[in-house]
Symmetry: C2
Subunit: 300 residues, 2 copies
């Protein structure tokens, strides 16, 4: 029986230690370095980097070859949270039970810390070591492909576009297709890029990458549906943030459109689709299988 908690603990340790190394002395401004560190170390689940590593392992790749990309994905995720929490955006004072970056520091520092984490993520992705053998070319080409995939997922046709559409739709009733689209852009695209970049850097073939993409699309949406459910019936203490806020802000969510029970069975169906897509893999994919279950069973 695969032990997800032990797996997550061990991966998180390695991810946190790598992030810590990246962020040490990352700026000439102590304040900026402190703000980046604060938000990165604020207790995230490390879902994206874990997915990246687990996808690489699924195709027979090694953690150490993708750890850099895994860290970059977490840095991009963290930058997006810092900017989303700003007063001009979602105006959230709390994040993971702690003061948001702009509360702990100030708005200017939070804006710049977000900018810095985003830029540093691409610095890490492009700081690759070139082995001096004949695999050179493929090596550089793969990293360029991964950088491009991640920029697309994080950019104006991905996460940033999703956040803009989400802000614009606040207080409006949305058809479910529009909601799915916004959620895909806002959350799903970067989750997909996390899985696929791990698969590419891990040396996966095109069929393997295709199946992992289907897995990622399904768990990405399941993740968002579960987030919406937790915003209705989660425990604010366990979650480290307020619940009921979607209703307050009149946000269109799965529970508001489908009802809570149908939302739960929808999330369950998505996870089943994800597990089915993993059918071509052996037990090296057990971490991905366990993560799929975890995504809808989590309490925060």
């Amino acid at each position: 029986m695969f032990d997800l908690n032990a797996y997550l603990d061990s991966k998180r340790k390695r991810i946190n230690s790598a992030l810590n190394e990246i962020l040490q002395n990352s700026s000439d401004s102590e304040n900026l370095t402190a703000a980046m560190n604060y938000s990165i170390m604020a207790g995230g689940k490390r879902l994206r980097p874990v997915l990246c590593i687990a996808a690489a392992e699924s195709v027979g790749g090694d953690e150490k070859n993708v750890l850099r990309a895994a860290c970059a994905l977490e840095m991009i995720h963290t930058y997006s949270l810092i900017h989303d929490d700003l007063p001009a955006m979602d105006n959230d004072d709390l994040r993971r039970g702690k003061p948001a970056c702009h509360i702990k520091f100030d708005e200017a520092t939070a804006i710049l810390a977000g900018d810095a984490l985003l830029t540093l993520a691409f610095q890490i992705l492009s700081s690759i070591d070139f082995p001096t053998d004949s695999t050179d070319e493929k090596h550089a080409t793969k990293w360029i492909e991964v950088i491009n995939m991640i920029t697309r997922a994080a950019g104006p046709k991905g996460m940033i576009g999703g956040q803009m559409l989400d802000i614009a739709s606040e207080g409006k009733s949305l058809p479910i297709d529009k909601l799915k689209k916004i959620h895909y852009l806002k959350t799903g695209a970067l989750i997909e890029a996390s899985v696929c970049s791990g698969a590419i850097l891990g040396g996966g073939g095109s069929k393997e990458i295709e199946h992992l993409k289907i897995y990622a699309k399904n768990i990405g949406l399941a993740f968002q549906v579960t987030d919406d459910i937790l915003n209705v019936e989660g425990d604010p203490i366990v979650m480290g943030k307020a619940v009921g806020t979607d209703k307050q802000h009149k946000k269109a969510t799965y529970p508001s459109l489908l009802g809570i029970e149908k939302s739960k069975s929808f999330a369950k169906d998505l996870v089943n689709n994800a597990l089915q897509a993993l059918g071509i893999f052996d037990n090296k994919s057990d971490p991905l299988r366990a993560v799929a279950d975890y995504i809808i069973e989590r309490k925060k």
Copy 2:
């Protein structure tokens, strides 16, 4: 006699047309696309992309091979202006004589438009075509090198670090070395990356790149010294922005530390150093020579 105006006109046309193509349909949110377009097309001098192209031409390279990098540099510059103008940062309502992005749109849109331009810049830099001949390997390696160089120049040990230190030093008297350092980070580093990325992608050798780096370091600083001088004695109508603001905000500047006449001769010395570094190049470097003079003679 080299005609700088004709050169700038022709390069700007090509840069603007390429930027226009990149930004068309760049997002699923019309609002976000409009905000990015607005700030990119607000009438910048296109100094960084022109330097990138002129550096490539100096080493015998072709404009078309670096146009993508040139556009990315302008997008990064524009994102930094959008974020710098925000109320929490420099709180400037006007930029190039027009309402700043957060005034024309709103703060949330301006934050996201900045984030989007930064991310899109790295998307463009990594959207390279791979020729299928034996130069493949070097090709990908060069682009990775350029991406890494630009991230370093724009990141927390470059432009973002400079902006953070600049905000922290407002109202304080600074020794000239500290001022030079902040200016190098805030402006010089990206100018240097513009010249050096052009030189690398244009196929320059290491000696050529070294000389162009010295050129860039000198004009970068000359640019900032001239900016400070213009803030004292420039014409607000020609410049499209208020003057005297540095004194108002008690900012340490070259004129405040050295006096206006010594600042001018300092800028002139820097340009002479830059021209001397171009001594190893033939007349293909005339655009770079003319740009060096332009930098201290400009009125805006």
